[in-house]
């Protein structure tokens, strides 16, 4: 039932004692990096001055902008030689944020992912079909190594190619899948078209839903259609990737692995801790990471901490489903997109006017991104073909950057809301 019972059921006092010890070490380790060395000097902070967990308040928050500014190696606390892997976030505004791992970091991460999967009942006898992109994205490789550590048979299917996914599930009797929730819904239509009933024709019993927030309703839909238990997975590349927080069989929130992360929940405006049970922005500190420790990282994800002990016996606190973001990042088909990314691309294309609008629509189980783009008045030569070429060019340029294919619509100049001030750049019409 437990992957690591001593850690998972650790007494809270004992946990906090260990956290303090690890926090001290982590802050010291971090102070070796260019970024934290400069930051600590600027605020006259002594890395040895951490006496309690509350002392973390002396350290300023770290943001994605900091990671970008000190790209690529400014956060390293070890020599480059000691690194064995890099990953990168999918949503990028300008430079991608990159995270580096030492061999020990990868082992610790892998262990947390294995712990998470094992918690839901996955065992070495399982056949695990990993339907996530392998590569820079952390979801594919993160789960791959976790499953390998458990000893399951892995089918590294990767993302997409629905018909082959179904074929693999049937041929090799897949029992566990890792899948983006919106893709799970989409795939159900492919199952229906093919006349395959996953409850009857497959051996599926567990699904890990990750890489994008989803509702309880979506979970129930997936569970009912596939005839399995679906578990919510939370992570972000800055904090390794998957395996930060995960649901246990009781499915009442995600246990956040506090032996590896120090958890804070703050009001995104005042940056003060929120009252117990209230919603706030999740702020995380790595406690064990050696290659690239990050202190008080603002995840921009909004959630609540669930108080009280879980029936499963684990003492690590739980967080609710992510309810939103404190920035304007969009997640579509598991890909993180910032509107400013779209803006940057668009403004580099001749013929594009001042304003644009992103509309997210859900058609059946398929999510679409529509980008309305104003045409520059002077650009228009009276030629329909010229407009069609412009639309094609915009579509291709955006696709190369945001990785999904938007539906581009050209609109008349000055027909969209103006870009100055707090312009509405995004309309999200996706509903369950």
């Amino acid at each position: 039932m437990y992957w690591d019972e001593d850690v998972e059921k650790i007494d809270r006092n004992e946990l906090e004692k260990r956290q303090l010890q690890d926090l001290k070490a982590s802050v010291k380790k971090a102070s070796l990096s260019v970024f934290y060395k400069e930051r600590f000097r600027k605020i006259d902070f002594d890395p040895d001055s951490i006496r309690s967990l509350e002392d973390i308040n002396k350290i300023p928050f770290t943001t994605k902008d900091d990671l970008r500014e000190y790209w690529p190696y400014g956060f390293l606390s070890v020599q480059k030689d000691d690194l064995v892997r890099m990953h990168s976030s999918s949503g990028t505004t300008g430079r991608a944020t990159v995270i580096f791992h030492t061999r020990g970091d990868l082992e610790a991460w892998t262990d947390m992912v294995a712990r998470s999967m094992y918690m839901t009942g996955m065992r070495k006898s399982d056949v695990f079909q990993n339907m996530m992109t392998y590569g820079l994205f952390t979801g594919g490789l993160g789960f791959h190594y976790g499953a390998e550590k458990i000893g399951a048979l892995i089918i590294p299917a990767g993302a997409g190619n629905s018909k082959r996914q179904i074929q693999l599930m049937r041929d090799f009797e897949t029992t566990v899948i890792h899948i983006i929730p919106s893709y799970a819904l989409h795939l159900s239509e492919v199952f229906e078209e093919a006349g395959v009933d996953p409850r009857r024709d497959t051996k599926l019993s567990i699904a890990f839903l990750g890489a994008e927030p989803h509702s309880e309703k979506t979970r129930i839909k997936v569970e009912e259609f596939y005839g399995l238990k679906a578990y919510n997975s939370y992570g972000l590349s800055e904090m390794n990737g998957p395996g930060v927080a995960f649901e246990c069989p009781f499915q009442q929130g995600m246990h956040i692995w506090e032996d590896n992360f120090l958890v804070e929940l703050v009001d995104p405006r005042t940056l003060e801790p929120v009252a117990e049970g209230e919603e706030g922005e999740l702020v995380l500190t790595t406690l064990r990471r050696q290659g690239m420790p990050i202190l008080r990282y603002r995840t921009k994800d909004l959630t609540c901490i669930i108080n009280g002990t879980c029936e499963c016996g684990r003492t690590h606190r739980r967080i609710e489903r992510i309810t939103g973001r404190t920035d304007d990042m969009l997640i579509i088909k598991g890909v993180n997109i910032f509107p400013v990314q779209v803006e940057k691309k668009l403004m580099g294309i001749p013929g594009v006017g001042m304003n644009f609008l992103i509309i997210l629509e859900r058609e059946g189980y398929n999510d679409h991104m529509i980008v309305k783009v104003e045409v520059q008045k002077e650009f228009f030569s009276g030629d329909l073909k010229q407009l069609e070429n412009l639309r094609r060019k915009i579509t291709e340029e955006l696709k190369s950057d945001i990785l999904i294919t938007p539906k581009v619509e050209l609109v008349e100049p000055s027909s969209l809301p103006k870009s100055e001030g707090k312009a509405v750049r995004v309309i999200d019409n996706r509903k369950d």
Partner: protein
């Protein structure tokens, strides 16, 4: 001779053409011919008007995205085979027609065929050599009085 056609970029939704015609009506600009080419969510309204320069200014002032485009307005006989002779000539010269539309000037006498082509200079030359009459903006503007005089 070269004529000028107004091309207006418009989203494919109710009211866009109404906006165009209301401006032209207010400015007392007469429309000789009109076509619409649309591509999904947007399109181009092409208008042959009696005063294209004034029309462009009025439409532009009204906030529309408009451009003046050179076209060739060829006079052809309004009888069977009248158009074919012109088209065969252009095809024989490897001239591609990007867009075209026509209207009758005098029933059973004369029609005008308006073409957008890929090689406008060559087309003019070819038409002149084959004795086709082409109309420019002022000729197009002055058609109507003659037309009425027939009655």
């Amino acid at each position: 001779m070269i004529a000028y056609q107004l091309s207006i970029f418009a989203e494919n939704k109710p009211g866009r053409l109404a906006k165009v015609t209301s401006v032209l009506a207010r400015e007392k600009i007469n429309i000789r011919a009109i076509t619409i080419a649309s591509s999904d969510a947007f399109g181009v309204i092409n208008i042959l008007a009696d005063d294209p320069e004034a029309a462009r200014k009025a439409l532009g002032d009204a906030g529309l995205t408009v451009s003046l485009k050179p076209v060739i307005a060829v006079v052809i006989p309004d009888k069977p085979g009248g158009l074919d002779k012109l088209i065969q000539l252009l095809a024989g010269q490897d001239i591609n027609i990007e867009n075209a539309y026509g209207f009758v000037l005098e029933s059973w006498e004369k029609a005008v065929f308006v073409i957008e082509v890929d090689q406008i200079d060559k087309t003019q030359h070819v038409l002149k050599a084959s004795k086709f009459e082409t109309l420019d903006a002022s000729a197009l503007a002055s058609i109507e009085p003659f037309h009425y005089m027939k009655y």
